[in-house]
Subunit: 459 residues, 2 copies
């Protein structure tokens, strides 16, 4: 995100070389806010400004810059400065940054880092994108079970500058097996001589590094945690997810889900609307649009197959938009509710039958209401004598109403069923995009419609 | 949320009167987890179980029960028990609970509460639903500016049991004006004799109690906060929003937005899919469905108005689904992107022109691609001799392609424009539901289509 509010002032300070003022500016606000202001500058200017700040502040502001600005700015960062920058970043930011760099640049930085930092990078990079392991940080605080409270508080106080949080500390044995946790609050209200082992909470909610980051974020939300320990297959502690990571993960997830559900490709990294070029927008959107257009052709073929019916009774064409709309809308509603309830964990894929039964009852109500509406519309029409001779308005109305009601029931059930089926097959339910559903129920709906009217009206 | 996993075991313990075991069960896990298990019981049984637990635990588990279970359980709670329960709840939970109770029940509880608690309720209830003031808690920690670090830590340690968090403390003067904040971490790494005034951070991000709770949650996310101070119009501190509140607010917001955008009414309180009866689902969905069906009738009238064209050239009907689909899908995509970018604060309502220009270029690409596809389809058809005599396949193809391209451009621009217009008029952009947009572009699309083919084909 860019904020151009102070752009002229910053430009002036840079061109006048007023480094002292720039340094002061950079420390006057939250690094995230400073980063927004700096992102509006050219990458070269960004680095001129950041050079004025102490290493720790610089690394923090840099970590908050937009990804593109980070990468572009590296052109102007000397090798030594780069090492300094990278080694002051927090482990998770560092890994993200190095992943974004062209390979030769990243390779140039690695040897200069301390052994422990390289180890961190290796470990954090080894988890696939999208897992809890890939977003966790390794800057967590641990305590031994045999410390007493005073010693524990002293250890946390000493380590505070290097830890993402000291408000929860994990109690581990010599193999880093997770034995329990204590919060700083618990430590502060306990007697100084009490043993960590005796005040720690032994039931600890955790997530496997290989599980999805959404899984971790949902646990943080459910249990109101400040941080969630991440463990590997051997139950050893390898990192933590923090509440602020969880919030970002959740909003990325919702954004991605919504895009996917509305037939837009692209990951959360590309979701920055203004940053994405029209050509990239086109690429993210055109796949689905073409696929849906091809599905639309199928509906066309169905209409063509029943051309004879339409030529005989052209009025029937006027009900097609209402029919297609009702199917898409009711199916879209049930799909939305199911996708949403699956995302919050309220529904499980195995709830299929319960959901279908509930949706069936809802669809009967909706279908009945719309059928009434359609029936009324046909009667209204026939008053003006639009019907071909020989057809009773009641029979025509009944045919259209029956088709519409049947269409609503089918569409509602399909809308609920498809996301559940996707979830059962371990796909993201939101992959069943609502427009695709609308195109599918267009096809089923037109078939239902023409067959129903042919039978009822004996065409 | 209910968890029926332990239902038989719990039932048995209740019927055997094994209160000691029940008490142990209730304290063995996080209150949120216990609440899920208990929610599966009948309300009367729930209270039998909760009676076995200490007041503080009981109040916490109770606060995590589903809303309906809470209300139903009150039938079995004696007056004294009720007072004890309510006075052990945290202020925000207490207010939420009392709001849910029938008025006479709530009135019976109030007099028994301490003055300070009644004061809290009055203040917290005085902010309208949906504001930061209505979700904040008043259990925050404050410090005077003239304490030293040792005194400050001692004060926080003493108050810890009654505070929602002690990891940030707000520095206020005697009028509760917010002077700054210190984190417990800052306190722990400072010299014991340093003054709070000298180590506090003076630039404090805050939110007005009258601002929306989403505003507050976005700030917590943006600045990675553990808590956000809530101030009133006189800059006095009145409460805090915590990171876990923010997470709930954000996921409610996304849920609501998605529902609204997909034409489903109902607030986040009703978003519990399985808890909502079919009849309620029907009420939440039918309004939009009927409105959209009526809009669908307009499309029907347009088809009817051009009945002559269709009778002359029935093939044209087969392109209608593709045309309507393409409009709805491209419009839906641009609307989704705009709604999403407005929700994350990336776009502002005043960015209208920039967005339209960007969408215009994207729509030219998409429209061009689909026009090509339509042109190809007409040529393919004409090979099989489906065209009426006297019409060149190239001219027919050009007419259909031109109409489709024009439709895509209009729909994409409308999709971007309508949510921006809603936001400008200070409505929720997601109110411009995607199905409504689809119905609107059906109408514009059919009009464009018939006029274009009439002109190009001289029908």
């Amino acid at each position: 995100v860019k904020n151009t509010l102070l752009l002229p002032e910053l430009r002036e300070l840079v061109s006048l070389g007023r480094f002292e003022d720039l340094r002061e500016f950079c420390t006057a606000e939250h690094p995230g806010v400073i980063a927004e202001f700096l992102s509006a500058l050219d990458p070269e200017e960004v680095w001129v400004v950041l050079r004025t700040t102490p290493s720790a502040v610089r690394a923090e502001i840099f970590s908050h810059l937009d990804e593109e600005v980070q990468v572009e700015a590296t052109e102007f960062i000397g090798r030594r400065e780069m090492t300094d920058l990278v080694s002051h970043m927090s482990p998770d930011d560092r890994v993200d940054f190095l992943k974004r760099l062209p390979e030769e640049k990243a390779a140039a930085v690695l040897p200069a880092l301390a052994q422990v930092e390289r180890e961190d990078i290796r470990r954090l990079s080894s988890y696939p994108e999208g897992t809890a392991g890939a977003v966790m940080t390794s800057d967590y605080a641990t305590l031994g079970p045999d410390l007493n409270v005073d010693q524990a508080i002293e250890k946390l106080r000493r380590e505070a500058p290097d830890r993402e949080t000291i408000y929860v500390a994990y109690v581990v044995d010599e193999k880093r097996q997770l034995l329990g946790l204590v919060s700083l609050r618990d430590l502060m209200v306990s007697r100084g001589s009490a043993m960590v082992r005796n005040i720690m909470k032994e039931e600890v909610v955790s997530v496997l590094a290989s599980e999805s980051r959404e899984e971790g974020a949902l646990k943080i939300q459910k249990y109101d945690l400040i941080a969630l320990p991440v463990i590997d297959g051997d139950q050893a502690l390898v990192g933590i997810l923090t509440h602020d990571d969880a919030m970002d993960v959740m909003s990325d997830k919702f954004s991605e889900d919504m895009g996917r559900f509305m037939a837009i490709a692209g990951t959360s990294h590309e979701r920055d609307y203004l940053r994405t070029s029209p050509w990239e927008h086109f690429r993210n959107r055109s796949g689905w649009i073409v696929a849906l257009a091809l599905l639309g052709l199928v509906s066309g073929y169905i209409i063509q197959a029943f051309e004879g019916v339409l030529l005989q009774f052209a009025l029937l064409a006027t009900f097609i938009p209402m029919l297609a709309g009702a199917g898409g809308n009711t199916g879209g509603q049930s799909a939305t509710l199911v996708v949403r309830a699956l995302a919050t964990g309220e529904l499980l894929p195995r709830n299929v039958l319960g959901v279908l039964w509930r949706e069936f009852r809802v669809s009967l109500l909706l279908g009945g209401l719309l059928a009434l509406l359609a029936f009324g519309r046909v009667l209204l029409f026939s008053r003006h004598g639009h019907l071909p001779p020989g057809f009773s308005p009641y029979v025509v109305g009944a045919a259209v109403a029956a088709a519409l009601g049947f269409q609503v029931v089918t569409s509602t059930l399909l809308g609920a069923l498809l996301p559940l089926a996707a979830a059962r097959a371990r796909f993201d339910p939101a992959l069943v995009a609502s427009p695709a559903l609308a195109s599918i129920v267009d096809i089923t709906g037109l078939t239902i419609y023409f067959i129903t009217v042919k039978i009822v009206l004996r065409l």
